[in-house]
């Protein structure tokens, strides 16, 4: 299979969520979220209620993809870190283990130095968790819940 499915289980999700929750506090951030490279939101924490995280996730992944494309043209492996500075909000984007993207949004209550420091530590933890998760997914017996759906189930989705 060229394209293994990304799967998230409760155990790993809780581990990831606790890393993200902690990072919000440690980095004095407004929002922290994790996106996979295809733009799917995996976890988020902080002041997310007024934020369109789905759109942000997709744009972040597009951004990382475009930067990765530039890196390739320059014969670089990857540009793993990006930082965008705004008037009020800043955004720090970090590629973790070439697999997922860790995004930190912060304002003047924090600083780039603090964010970078905390992101580095969180990245290591996240890398371990995702490595374990991928191993679990590739183990036999990890059946898709969709293996048992019927054609009828699929048809029902479109009967409106």
């Amino acid at each position: 299979m060229v394209n293994p499915q990304m799967v998230m289980y409760e155990e790993e999700f809780n581990q990831i969520q606790s890393v993200v929750d902690r990072l919000v506090k440690d980095a004095n951030a407004k929002v922290v979220f994790i996106v996979d490279k295809n733009g799917q939101l995996i976890a988020a924490s902080g002041d997310v209620d007024n934020l369109d995280t789905t759109s942000l996730a997709s744009l972040t992944a597009g951004n990382i993809a475009a930067t990765g494309g530039m890196a390739k043209l320059l014969k670089e492996n990857e540009f793993a870190t990006q930082f965008h500075e705004g008037e009020k909000a800043n955004i720090h984007i970090q590629l973790v283990g070439n697999r997922v993207i860790l995004v930190v949004i912060f304002d003047s209550k924090s600083s780039l130095g603090l964010v970078r420091l905390r992101v580095r530590k969180a990245s290591e933890e996240l890398n371990h968790i995702f490595e374990a998760l991928l191993k679990k997914v590739s183990e036999p017996g990890a059946d898709s819940p969709f293996a048992e759906i019927t054609d009828e189930d699929i048809d029902n989705l479109f009967n409106d």
């Binding site: 759109s55 997709s58 993809a65 759906i149």
Partner: protein, 196 residues
């Protein structure tokens, strides 16, 4: 690459609309956006030039409903159709679960369709996918224009494998949802089989 989230009980899939410049990919997404209930859709994002040509991609998240207690979410993307944006097209195809090829039915665009289809095949295979295996549907768009090829002609040129195909007038919505449903169905059927 679909994403199954047991925690949120969600399944996320990525569908890409491909085709030559000005064939109506963005128009397809715009129509879907306009005709979908607010609770079933997110914001539509268009990264376009000042003249409204797609520069990087359009993005529209859609919720289709539940299957066996799992919410099914589809992320629809378009690629920029213009030939020189090939590097961007490749990026958008990453992790794709299903492809819609939007063809321009106008006779003057026949060659552009073929070129774009060939480009799709190449870009997919660079990532280890095959157009013959991936969930894939074709839409013959712009059926309301003068000087268009017949569906038989277009099918012979663009869809010899006879994957599901539809006539479309994306501007007014003809064929738009039929196309979307067909590709979504193929994607879910593929998931049932256990992935691409």
């Amino acid at each position: 690459m679909s994403f199954i989230n047991y925690m949120a009980r969600e399944i996320n899939c990525k569908i890409v609309y491909y085709g030559p410049g000005l064939c109506g990919k963005t128009t397809n997404l715009q129509y879907i956006y306009e005709r979908t209930n607010p609770e079933a859709k997110g914001k539509m994002i268009s990264l376009a030039t000042e003249t409204d040509r797609t520069l990087f991609f359009d993005f529209l998240p859609l919720a289709l409903g539940e299957i066996r207690g799992f919410k099914t979410r589809f992320h629809l993307y378009t690629v920029p159709g213009q030939v020189f944006y090939d590097a961007s097209r490749k990026l958008i195809l990453k992790g794709v679960d299903g492809v819609v090829f939007v063809a321009d039915s106008q006779i003057a665009r026949l060659e552009a369709n073929q070129e774009s289809l060939e480009n799709l095949r190449t870009n997919l295979s660079e990532q280890g996918y095959s157009l013959d295996k991936i969930p894939y549907v074709v839409q013959y768009n712009k059926r309301d224009m003068p000087e268009i090829g017949t569906v038989e002609e277009l099918r012979e040129l663009l869809n010899p494998a006879k994957t599901p195909d539809f006539e479309g007038i994306a501007r007014t919505g003809v064929g738009v949802f039929d196309t979307l449903k067909a590709v979504a169905k193929l994607v879910l059927t593929e998931l049932k089989k256990g992935g691409p």
